[in-house]
């Protein structure tokens, strides 16, 4: 009798164990994490003369998702002055895909950042512009607010310190401290106006471009050589697993097209 009891108890425990392990593994496989940009471990700025250019177009393939009109639940006078759309996929004429980051994955030497470039995100009419912003590591990003309503700038960094600051209605410009590490893209939100959404990529080198309405991108002053060319799009994902290979010749121009689908 005793052995029987012991055996059944052991069996029960074993079942529990298997169950728990099973659940844990299932949870693991479910966790679909946001794909990130790939950065070189070290990057050394140096003068580049007679560099080449990489340019091209990013296009969308497949059934075009309809752009959702955002529900303006707050401050309708300011925020609802014009209709706002969900910008997670913006497709222009000829299937051009806007807001895609195109960049060099494995560059370790090249030009320095343009230190004079204005780094800003505007919060006009309760919408972030641009939707995707590249920010060099260590440089300050200035948040603009001419809306005369309160916003809060919430940057969901994981590697760097997350930011959550109130930008009150009288605060037209709010610069944010430069970050220490390359990261991203990370989501930007305004908790006060829940529909506001943008992305920031903190980058260690200047070979990053964001596609415009025509899906175009250009990377200039690239030292001659062979590179891996990556892309990132918030809804369509990345080509991290099989980046494009490009060979840049001194003074030359190479073109590269990407066609992206919904994940």
């Amino acid at each position: 009798m005793k052995t029987y009891l012991l055996a059944s108890l052991t069996l029960l425990l074993a079942c529990c164990y298997v169950g728990i392990v099973g659940i844990t593994f299932a949870a693991d496989s479910d966790a679909g994490e946001m794909e990130m940009l790939i950065f070189p471990e070290n990057y050394k700025p140096m003068p580049v003369s007679n560099g080449g250019t990489i340019s091209g177009v990013v296009k969308f393939e497949g059934d075009k998702p309809e752009m959702k009109v955002l529900e303006i639940t707050k401050d309708p006078k300011v925020c609802g002055a014009t209709e706002k759309y969900d910008e997670s996929v913006v497709i222009g004429e000829d299937n051009a895909l806007k807001n895609t980051i195109v960049y060099l994955i494995d560059i370790t030497e090249g030009k320095d950042f343009d230190k004079e470039a204005k780094l800003e995100i505007d919060q006009k009419e309760c919408k972030f512009t641009p939707h995707v912003q590249i920010v060099p590591v260590g440089q300050r990003l200035t948040m603009l607010n001419n809306d005369r309503v309160n916003h809060n700038v919430h940057i969901f960094s994981i590697i760097n310190t997350p930011v959550n600051k109130q930008q009150t209605k009288t605060r037209k410009k709010m610069p944010l401290a430069g970050v220490k590490k390359a990261e991203g893209p990370v989501a930007v939100k305004c908790d006060i106006h829940g529909w506001m959404s943008a992305w920031i990529a903190y980058v260690p080198h200047p070979y990053f471009a964001v596609t415009n309405e025509k899906g175009e991108f250009t990377l200039e002053d690239v030292p001659a050589g062979k590179y891996k060319l990556g892309y990132w799009h918030e809804t369509c994902g990345t080509n991290n697993e099989s980046p494009a290979e490009v060979t840049v010749e001194a003074g030359g121009t190479v073109t590269q097209e990407f066609t992206l689908k919904l994940k």
Binding site: I23, T24, A27, T73, K74, G138, R140, R148, N150, N152, H154, F156, I158, T161, P162, V163, N164, K165, Q166, Q167, T168, K169, T170, R171, K172, K173, M174, P175, L176, A177, G178, D191, I192, H193, G194, W195
Partner: protein, 572 residues
């Protein structure tokens, strides 16, 4: 020579002692014991790997903390900093009010709690990588509570935009409240500032101050640290003037220039603050500017903390347990109307509500904490005033996805159909009756001037009465609070109604729905039975009989004494 050596030794010992004392404030290295305690006591909610995904997590809101991102809500440290070991220890020891995190002081030894602190820290590498101890928020210069301080704080509450989420009077009903999510994408509600006892990190002014300066990491609550503070670098007067200028529709040229100067001053101060944050070099004069600006930030933050403190009662209203009788007071003539100030003179009974978890669909994450009730009656009628907080005004505009039924706020007041005779007589089942039926008043936010009378024999077995009695109903929703006024005759013709008699103890219970929290059907918050009584009017004869009896007794005593004395003297 020898003395010097001894002195040196003493000094060394002293230093060692100080160091070891300092060390005692910190958690030990992570050990097997910490892992064991964690897995036995914490992993069910926080997950074996600390990701906040334990088996119980699904039904909890607020969700258990995910320890892998280093985001801790309750800290004594500045914005963006990790908590101190002591912070973690305190949370484990004291628990987090208003959430599912219990206190562990009774269940775990001090040593075990420290072991758990050390183990939790292994889930996030940032604890190891950070060589410098986290910077703590200084509590020096605290401004004590005063009406003046509260007034300044009240102004700041609006200017800083606290109202956006916490609402006009702090009930967590701001217009941004319904759309808030935390850093993991889960819905989260802003604190109801009038309920200090639900504050995760405690309701003391110091606690409020720390949450404000340091922010609540992982939640939408920003950190109002230095450089992002309203008009950083300006004096209070300058700040006031700038707000005044900014609020003008159009500025004159001189005013433009004036505000421009303010902005320049602000930009310079912010630049210094950011340079310090980035680890850049600043001059002594710049540090002075920074310190002056920070002093103002801290002063204002104390005023704000005092204001928030002023919004809550000194202590949690005592639940009507023990003394659980709701007493209706007799008045002669007309009963006080909905907005009659007479209601204010009378203290409410508070009935805490809990989620209904007996029958599917259940409510594990209730948002309505309790209902305050007052009552008056006269010779023919009884009137009730029910008051409860609800962050949103939901009036059946949306429908529940699973049931297709409209979501709306509602309240039900429950009585038995027949009052149990005597204290041992059975009451109907507390959950809307069973074999013994209950009689209910069902009020819905979409029909604010109406109450439906129901008879129920179970929560899924309720019917509107065929004959709806003449109940007078008025209600209001302002700043995150419902007020409902119901008046009914003591006696009605309808046999299915409860009939009320003076001095009879009647069971009473409450159910409430918060539509925006997905409350519908049995997904609700509720109480068990309490007791209601029409307090008998003390008879005016009480002024005649008791004194008369007292006089008689005294007279009798004196008589007796005289009698005994006389007998004694006779005997002698």
């Amino acid at each position: 020579m020898r003395i010097r050596t001894i002195a040196l030794l003493f000094l060394l010992f002293g230093i060692l002692a100080v160091f070891s004392l300092a060390y005692a404030q910190n958690a030990p290295e992570a050990s097997e014991r910490g892992k064991e305690v964690y897995e036995n006591s914490c992993a069910h909610c926080h997950g074996v790997e600390g990701r906040g995904d334990g088996s119980a997590a699904e039904n909890l809101l607020p969700k258990p903390r995910d320890f892998t991102r280093g985001l801790y809500k309750i800290r004594s440290t500045e914005a963006g900093q990790l908590p101190t070991d002591q912070d973690l220890f305190d949370i484990i020891t004291e628990g987090m009010p208003g959430s599912s995190m219990p206190e562990w002081e009774t269940a775990l030894s001090t040593n075990d709690r420290w072991e758990v602190v050390a183990y939790i820290k292994t889930f996030y590498d940032g604890f190891k990588e950070n060589e410098n101890p986290p910077k703590q928020i200084t509590l020096e210069g605290k401004i004590s509570y005063s009406p003046e301080s509260v007034d300044i704080g009240k102004e700041l509450y609006v200017e800083l935009g606290c109202v956006e989420c916490h609402g006009n009077v702090g009930r967590g009903d701001g217009t941004s409240a319904p759309t808030l999510t935390d850093s993991w994408g889960f819905q989260t509600w802003p604190a109801n500032l009038t309920q200090g006892w639900t504050f995760r990190g405690g309701p003391d002014t110091e606690d409020i101050f720390k949450r404000f300066i340091g922010g609540i990491a992982g939640s939408p609550m920003p950190a109002f640290e230095g450089d992002s503070f309203l008009n950083f670098g300006l004096t209070s007067e300058e700040s006031k003037r700038l707000i005044e200028l900014e609020n003008k529709d159009e500025m004159t040229e001189a005013e433009e220039e004036e505000s421009g100067k303010f902005y320049e001053k602000m930009d310079a101060a912010v630049d210094i603050a950011l340079t310090i944050k980035e680890g850049g070099e600043v001059s002594a004069a710049e540090i002075q500017t920074y310190n002056d600006a920070m002093k103002i930030v801290y002063e204002k933050s104390w005023h704000l903390a005092n204001y928030v403190k002023s919004l809550m009662p000194e202590k949690q209203p005592e639940p009507a347990i023990g003394n659980n009788v709701l007493r209706s007071q007799y008045v002669q003539g007309e009963l006080p109307d909905f907005d009659d100030p007479t209601w204010e003179t009378f203290k409410a009974r508070y009935f805490p509500l809990v989620g209904q978890v007996v029958i599917e669909p259940r409510q594990f994450n209730p948002t309505i904490d309790g209902v305050h009730v007052k009552s008056f009656y006269n010779d023919t009628e009884v009137a009730f005033l029910f008051v409860w907080d609800d962050r949103t005004h939901t009036t059946a505009d949306e429908t529940d996805e699973t049931t297709g039924k409209p979501l709306e706020d509602a309240l039900a007041v429950q009585f038995p159909v027949k009052v149990p005779q005597g204290p041992t007589a059975p009451k109907p089942y507390f959950l809307w009756g069973g074999r013994l039926p209950v009689y209910l008043w069902h009020w819905k936010a979409s029909m604010p001037e109406q109450v439906t009378e129901l008879t129920a024999k179970g929560i899924n077995n309720a019917e509107a009465q065929e004959v709806q009695g003449e109940l007078e109903v008025k209600s209001d929703y302002t700043d995150g609070q419902y007020k409902l006024w119901v008046k009914r005759a003591l006696k009605t013709e309808d046999k299915k109604d409860l009939q009320l008699d003076t001095g009879v103890f009647v069971p009473i219970a409450f159910s409430a729905w918060d539509g925006s929290n997905g409350d519908v059907d049995t997904k609700l918050t509720m109480t068990s039975w309490y007791t209601f009584v029409l307090e008998p009017v003390p008879s005016s004869r009480r002024f005649i009989y008791p004194p008369l009896i007292a006089l008689l007794s005294i007279g009798l005593l004196f008589g007796l004494r005289a009698f005994v004395q006389r007998r004694n003297t006779e005997e002698v």
